[in-house]
C-alpha cells in the first residue's frame, strides 16, 4: 500500500476514567473506503469512534492524514473530521438551518459572519439527506429520524475527508436507511473515508467494503464482509446462531438469525423429524422446525433446489442429487434408511412428476401414523400432480391410510407434540 492513510491507529487504548474500553486496537483506513465497525453492545464500538475523533482521551499512535492527531488544533480537526452522533440533546429551539450552519464555524473567524457560500453548502447538505424542507423548522419539533438526518447533514456540511458515523441509520425507516447509506457509499467512491458503527449486520454487509469486528475492546476480525460475517465468528462474538448466504439479488453476504433454542424447555428436543419436500416447498418449514429445536433432516433434493440451499445453510443433512435426472437407486435406498430411523415424517406437499414419484411411493411402505402432511391452505393435491394423476393418487392414498393433514406450521407442531407425548 503506497499512498497515505486517512486514519492510522496503532496500539490505541481509550476509555473513560481509569478503565480502558478500547484495548490495543491497531488499524488504518484508506481514502475511498467505507468501513463498518461491528460488535455486540458494550464492545467498545462507539468508544473507538470517539477515540478517533479525540473526544475521548486515548493513548497510542493516532494519525490523521499522516499527521499526529495531537498536532491538530480543534478548528483543524473540525475541518478534517466530521462526526455523526447516535443522538444529541435538543434543549433549545434552534432551527434546522442554524444547527447545520454550525458545521461552518471551524472555517470562519469568530469575528466574521458566515458567507452566502456557507449557506449554500448547508442547504445542499440538507438536500442530500432529504431534509431541505425542514430548514426553518425548530429542531425540537423533529422526529427522531428527521433529527438524525439533520445531524448527518451537519457532518456533511463540514466538508471533511473523514466521516465517522455512530449508528447513522438507527432512527431511519427503510427507504431513508438505503438513501443515507448509498450517499455514504458514493462519498467513499469519490475519495472520502467513511467509518460507521453498525448494529444491523446485513446493512453493514450490503454497503461496506470492509468490516471490523470488535469484542471487549479488541479487534477479532477485519476484512471483507464475506470473510468477517461467518457463522463461527458471529457465534464467537455475539453468542448468536446465524445462517449466512450470498443474497441472490445483491450478491452480498447476508445473514439470518436462527432462533435460539432453550433445550430444557422444548419437549420436542429429541424428536427426529424427516422432511420430504421439493421445489422450494420445504425452505420455510426446515427453518421453522430447526428453530423449534427439533433434529431435522431433509430428503432427496436436487442441488439447484431452494430447499437444498436452505438445508445447506442450516446444516441439515439431506441426500443431494443432480437436477433434471432420474433419482439414482442408491439415493432412494439411503432415503428409505433415513425414513426408517425418523420418529416422524413431515411431507411438505410439492410438485411431483415422473422423476420424483419414487420418493412419494417409498412413503407408502411406512406406518402412516408417523406421517404428517402439510398442504397449504386452499390448495389441492391435484395442483401438484405432474405425473398424470398418479402423484395425486399417491397423496390421497397416504391420507386414506391414516396420515394426518394440516395446513399450517403451527398445526405441524401441534401434531408433533401430541405424537411425542
Amino acid at each position: 500500500m503506497t499512498g497515505q492513510y486517512s486514519i492510522n491507529a496503532e496500539d490505541l487504548h481509550a476509555g473513560y476514567g481509569t478503565q480502558d474500553i478500547v484495548k490495543s486496537i491497531s488499524c488504518s483506513f484508506s481514502p475511498g473506503t467505507f468501513t463498518g465497525i461491528i460488535g455486540p453492545n458494550g464492545s467498545g464500538k462507539t468508544t473507538l469512534l470517539k477515540a478517533f475523533s479525540r473526544v475521548i482521551p486515548a493513548s497510542g499512535i493516532l494519525e490523521l492524514d499522516g499527521k499526529a492527531v495531537s498536532d491538530f488544533t480543534p478548528a483543524e480537526l473540525g475541518m478534517a473530521l466530521g462526526f455523526v452522533p447516535q443522538d444529541e440533546g435538543r434543549p433549545f429551539s434552534y432551527t434546522v438551518l442554524q444547527v447545520v450552519l454550525m458545521a461552518r464555524y471551524a472555517r470562519t473567524s469568530r469575528f466574521a459572519a458566515l458567507m452566502p457560500a456557507d449557506y449554500a453548502r448547508c442547504r445542499r447538505a440538507l438536500e442530500d439527506t432529504g431534509v431541505a424542507h425542514l430548514a426553518d423548522r425548530s429542531i425540537r419539533t423533529l422526529s427522531g429520524g428527521e433529527w438524525q438526518r439533520v445531524l448527518i447533514a451537519r457532518a456533511l456540511a463540514q466538508d471533511t475527508n473523514v466521516l465517522l458515523l455512530d449508528e447513522p441509520t438507527s432512527h431511519l425507516d427503510l427507504s431513508h436507511q438505503s438513501d443515507i447509506l448509498t450517499l455514504m457509499r458514493d462519498l467513499a467512491a469519490s475519495g472520502a473515508t467513511i467509518i460507521g458503527v453498525f448494529h444491523d449486520l446485513n446493512l453493514a454487509a450490503l454497503y461496506c467494503d470492509r468490516l471490523i469486528m470488535i469484542k471487549n475492546g479488541q479487534m477479532v476480525a477485519d476484512g471483507t464482509p464475506d470473510k468477517v460475517l461467518t457463522p463461527e465468528k458471529i457465534r464467537e462474538v455475539y453468542s448468536a446462531e446465524v445462517v449466512t448466504s450470498c443474497h441472490p439479488a445483491t450478491g452480498r453476504t447476508f445473514l439470518m438469525p436462527v432462533t435460539a433454542i432453550n433445550g430444557n424447555v422444548s419437549p420436542l428436543k429429541s424428536l427426529n423429524v424427516q422432511v420430504i419436500s421439493g421445489g422450494g416447498s420445504g425452505s420455510g418449514l426446515l427453518y421453522f422446525l430447526t428453530g423449534r429445536g427439533l433434529s431435522v433432516s431433509a430428503g432427496i433434493l436436487a442441488t439447484t433446489d431452494t430447499d437444498y440451499i436452505t438445508a445447506k445453510a442450516l446444516e441439515i443433512p439431506c441426500i443431494p442429487v443432480l437436477p433434471f435426472s432420474q433419482i439414482p437407486v442408491h439415493s432412494l435406498e439411503k432415503l428409505k434408511a433415513m425414513l426408517a430411523q425418523a420418529d416422524r415424517v413431515v411431507l411438505s406437499v410439492h410438485p411431483v412428476g415422473a422423476g420424483n414419484l419414487p420418493v412419494l411411493l417409498a412413503l407408502r411402505d411406512m406406518d402412516p401414523a408417523r406421517i404428517i402432511i402439510h398442504l397449504p391452505e386452499g390448495r389441492e393435491f391435484a395442483s401438484y400432480d405432474f405425473a398424470k394423476g398418479t402423484a395425486a393418487a399417491a397423496y390421497q392414498d397416504l391420507c386414506a391410510a391414516g396420515a394426518r393433514c394440516t395446513t399450517s406450521y403451527v398445526g405441524i407442531l401441534g401434531l408433533l407434540l401430541t405424537a411425542s407425548s
Partner: protein, 319 residues
C-alpha cells in the same frame, strides 16, 4: 439567517434605544420628584451623585446577571439553569452575612465578592478532582455547595439577633448603597466579560448541543467551557457584591430573549445585556419611587413573572 437578520437587527436596535431612554428617564424620576428641567442647585446633586450612579449600577448589574444566565443555560444545556447555579449567590450571601454578623456590616461587598468566588472555586476543585469532568458533575456539585452555604447562612440568621433584618434585606437584593464606584466597577466587569461572551456566541451555540458536539465542530470545548465559567463567575460575583442576590433576572431574561429572537447566542447575549439592564433599572426605579425602597428582587419577579407568563401563553412552548 438572512430572513432572521431582518428581524433581529431592528429588535436589537430597538432594545438599545429603549435602554438609553430607560436610563435617561429613570435618572430623572425619584421620590424627590425632580422633572427633566430643574434649576435648583440640589437637583443636580441628587441626579448626578445619587440617582445616576444608582441607575447605572442597576443597569450593569441587571445586564451582568442576564448575560451570565444565558451563558450558564447554554453551557449546562438546561433552560432552568440560572447564574447562581454553581453557588455564587449562596457563597456571596455567606460572605455578606459573616461581615454583617461579625464585622458590624463593614466590608460587606468585599466579603460578598470573596464568598461568591470562593463558592465557585470550591465547586471547581471538588468536581475537577478526577481530571475530565462533565458539566453534569459540575452542576450537581454546585447545587450541593449551594445548599451547604445556604444552611450556614440560615444558621447565621437564626443566631444573628438584631442583624437579621440586614441579612434578609441583603438576601433579597437592592441598590440602597449604590455609589459611583459601584457603577464604574460593574461597568469594568461587564464590558470585557460581556464582549468576551458575545464573541463566544457560536461556542455557546455549539456547547448548548453538547461538549462532544462542540469539539466535533472544531471548537476547543474545554477551553470554551472554562472561559465561559470564568467570565460568568466574575459577572455574577461583581453583581452579588454590589446588589446582593437579585433573583429572576438571570433566569428569565434569557428566556424572553430566546422567545423573541431565537436561541442563537450571538443574538441572545447582546439582547440579554440590554433587556436585563432595562428590567432592573425599571424595577429599581419603581421601588425607590413608589415603594419606599423595598428590596428590588421582589419587584423584578413581581413585574417580570406576569410578563413571562403572558409570553409563554402567547408563544407556546419555545425556549
Amino acid at each position: 439567517m438572512i430572513p432572521a437578520l431582518t428581524r433581529t437587527i431592528p429588535l436589537i436596535i430597538g432594545l438599545a434605544v429603549a435602554a438609553v431612554v430607560t436610563i435617561v428617564l429613570c435618572t430623572f424620576i425619584g421620590p424627590a420628584g425632580f422633572g427633566f428641567v430643574s434649576t435648583a442647585p440640589s437637583a443636580a446633586d441628587i441626579v448626578g451623585s445619587i440617582r445616576l450612579p444608582r441607575v447605572l449600577a442597576a443597569f450593569f448589574v441587571g445586564a451582568s446577571l442576564a448575560v451570565a444566565g444565558a451563558a450558564m443555560q447554554a453551557l449546562f444545556r438546561n433552560p432552568m439553569a440560572d447564574p447562581y447555579i454553581l453557588g455564587t449567590s449562596s457563597g456571596g450571601a455567606l460572605g455578606a452575612s459573616l461581615a454583617i454578623v461579625f464585622l458590624g456590616g463593614l466590608f460587606v461587598p468585599v466579603f460578598a465578592w470573596a464568598g461568591a468566588v470562593a463558592a465557585i472555586l470550591i465547586v471547581w476543585s471538588i468536581a475537577g478532582r478526577k481530571g475530565v469532568i462533565s458539566v453534569e458533575t459540575l452542576l450537581l456539585t454546585g447545587i450541593a455547595v449551594s445548599f451547604f452555604f445556604s444552611a450556614v447562612v440560615s444558621f447565621l440568621i437564626a443566631v444573628a439577633g438584631e442583624n437579621v433584618h440586614q441579612i434578609l434585606f441583603w438576601l433579597m437584593g437592592g441598590f440602597w448603597n449604590a455609589s459611583p464606584s459601584d457603577a464604574i466597577l460593574s461597568a469594568c466587569i461587564l464590558v470585557p466579560a460581556g464582549l468576551l461572551l458575545f464573541f463566544m456566541g457560536r461556542d455557546l451555540n455549539a456547547l448548548s448541543l453538547g461538549e462532544e458536539t462542540a469539539a466535533h465542530l472544531g471548537i476547543d470545548a474545554t477551553r470554551a467551557r472554562w472561559t465561559v465559567l470564568g467570565a460568568s463567575t466574575l459577572l455574577v460575583a461583581g453583581a452579588v457584591s454590589i446588589a446582593g442576590s437579585i433573583g429572576f433576572v438571570g433566569l428569565v431574561i434569557p428566556h424572553i430573549a430566546r422567545m423573541l429572537l431565537g436561541p442563537d447566542n450571538r443574538v441572545v447575549i447582546p439582547a440579554c445585556i440590554l433587556a436585563g439592564g432595562i428590567l432592573l433599572v425599571i424595577s429599581d426605579t419603581i421601588t425607590r419611587t413608589f415603594l419606599s425602597d423595598l428590596p428590588v428582587g421582589i419587584i423584578t419577579a413581581f413585574i417580570g413573572a406576569p410578563f413571562f407568563i403572558w409570553l409563554i401563553h402567547k408563544r407556546g412552548e419555545t425556549l
